[in-house]
Symmetry: C2
Subunit: 398 residues, 2 copies
């Protein structure tokens, strides 16, 4: 049994569980333990999605999500299901019903979310890797905050069957590890080989770098320098199309509309009390108009073409994952909301364009970690992981 007393990363279940989850004895992941965010179905367990009504309605699942099953078949051992932010619609890691998983790298700071429990479990050493999902930053933000490797893969590359949706055209399945070598082992199973050539040319999106909090600049730039010493000089360019506000709002309209299509019926039917921030975001989502969706859809097409063209077949963006280290837990909801809105300006590019982004735990300040990201062309996921391995071998990362 996992001792979760310190981390509060896991959704508790009856001990012993009704159905211990079987895994292959041998395989590429033999010896590794893992956890799955409580959006993924696991036979013998309910799926709660961070909301008590969803948990009550779930019943005991009889089928395991294919991606979880793939990991079990590869020899990995499932140790539990982790707390998610409510309905995965938050970036803070504070669930009003199930609690706040502890950031293993900075216990007095938020873990980030929505894959909060997964990042907590790995950063506290309770398992070797953990599955999360990333719609608008839900793997990348907690990876950055908890000092972990975390991938948002190319949209659609890893199956999310048997997992609760948030905004399907943005939803992706990622995972966390503490080190690059373990990350690559899981990548071999979940990604296999890329079908596109590995990108080679680093790019420096100056407009995104300008979004860093002033206090974080020195460390992030120093870490970026170490990356360039290994991978080559990053060529400056600008990424933003039209304006940051255009990107931000079009992202939010599309994510919101899809989130309302997913969860609106539940919310209208059961009127579940939603936690702070989550309730407001669903209220916003409900109000998104067809005109806003049409405009945002057109923008998304333009932006995707724009970013594809900027990267070409061989470009990789080097960028800060988040604007700063994790905020203190004691920050008021309004300050966290402001931080979240600034973070979306950094996070929304890969989501809008469906491109892979890997966050590496290689920066930080005041003994608190912070991630830099590699964002590559569609389908270059495994190559990004290989870059992380190369960097770790060279002493940049673990």
């Amino acid at each position: 049994m996992i001792d979760d007393r310190h981390a509060h990363a896991f959704v508790p279940y009856p001990d012993p569980p009704d159905a211990p989850v079987a895994h292959a004895e041998h395989g590429p992941l033999a010896g590794l333990s893992f956890a799955a965010k409580d959006l993924f179905d696991v036979a013998g367990y309910p799926t709660g999605g961070g909301n008590p009504i969803v948990l009550a309605l779930s019943g005991i699942k009889t089928r395991t999500a294919p991606t979880v099953q793939r990991l079990l078949d590869a020899g990995a051992r499932l140790v539990g299901k982790t707390i998610t932010d409510e309905l995965a619609f938050s970036m803070n890691g504070q669930n009003a019903h199930f609690g706040a998983p502890v950031n293993g790298a900075a216990p007095n700071r938020i873990s980030g979310g929505s894959s909060s429990g997964s990042a907590s479990a790995v950063s506290n050493g309770l398992c070797d890797f953990a599955l999360g999902t990333d719609t608008g930053g839900s793997v990348r933000a907690p990876a950055s905050h908890c000092g972990l490797y975390g991938l948002r893969p190319t949209h659609g590359r890893i199956s999310l069957q048997g997992a609760l949706d948030l905004s399907p055209s943005f939803d992706t399945c990622g995972w966390f590890t503490r080190d690059a070598a373990s990350f690559a082992r899981v990548a071999d199973v979940l990604l296999g080989a890329d079908a596109v050539p590995a990108p080679t040319r680093l790019l420096w999106p100056a407009d995104l770098w300008a979004q860093l909090a002033p206090a974080a600049e020195a460390s992030a730039h120093a870490a970026a320098g170490r990356v360039q010493a290994v991978l080559g000089r990053a060529a400056p360019m600008n990424l933003v199309l039209d304006s940051f506000d255009a990107m931000y709002w079009h992202f939010r309209y599309l994510q919101g509309r899809e989130a309302w299509l997913t969860d609106g019926p539940l919310i209208e039917r059961y009127a579940p009390p939603l936690g702070p921030g989550v309730a407001e975001r669903f209220a916003f989502s409900r109000g998104v108009t067809d005109e806003q969706v049409a405009e945002a859809t057109a923008f998304r097409e333009r932006f995707t073409a724009h970013l594809d063209a900027l990267l070409g077949p061989d470009g990789v963006l080097l960028l800060p994952t988040m604007p700063d280290i994790a905020p203190l837990k004691t920050e008021p909801e309004s300050a966290l909301e402001d931080y979240r809105n600034r973070a979306i300006r950094l996070l929304c590019a890969s989501g809008l364009a469906g491109l892979p982004q890997l966050s590496l735990p290689i920066a930080g300040r005041d003994n608190v970690p912070m991630g830099l990201s590699l964002l590559g062309p569609r389908g270059s996921d495994r190559a990004l992981v290989a870059m992380a391995e190369q960097l770790a071998t060279a002493g940049v990362g673990r």
Copy 2:
């Protein structure tokens, strides 16, 4: 299937449920439908106790609580499990995780709790009767607010096996109906016959009557007049021992200590986010000292002897169940807390002494119902129900 869209009384479960609950085809309760507060185990369902962590930990129960089984065996049909206030430690009917069941008699007002969903289900006509529990008022308060009959039985008379505890030396199993005749049918099954003679002599605890809100006095006194026209004149007396404050605090110390013994381990282990008011009450409970418990225990013995002597074998108190009609839902938490603390002054007598108290829906103002209570000697439960039937037959009540 029950249409719960308006009432939000039930904890939702997968439809169809994993295990529909069987009941006898014939029996004294054949034709009646009922619901059970989500503190009672029902085979095939989890038991949530109004808290998401308890729900997650529950697993699917394999045994049905004996009292629920007794009703099924008597032919009653279970239609679902109802929302309870969190860990049954509230009197408002507002669960921060599962929502606020709607008061069928006054939808813009609180239902009262903690047996909120049960009172909601019956007052909205979704079933004929519903099981609740009453520790400090959790049947009587919602009965009064929702215009229902509701009994707090003699402590220990109806089994609470297979139900979550709050404060065992106060916890009792009661139920709600809309009319006296149905109430008596359930009483025949759950109470059987009394082993003590029926009380006959009405008493008027003047000091409790003085606790009424001024706005409620006219209606409550008029209803009390109608009761006396049927059952005879109530003789004035005073009930309070030492002071209202003594009764209030000794009750809270004892209830709090037992509640902490029950739920403290869960709260310390999982740090579940508790809803407003509930968190504060558990914090209070945790701080209750051994000295306070010792003093309160001694007081409780004195008070029990005092009230037993006041009633004798044949006395029945006629008293207001609550200080007023149900507060508006829009009242701030602080106003509800103040109302709760005033209500405890009326409610704590039967809990401290372990005596039965039946609330009758026979008063009210502004088209909102309010209950008057009959509080009798230990073991006189069935006789109190007979009085309610007699009153209804005479046109006082339904």
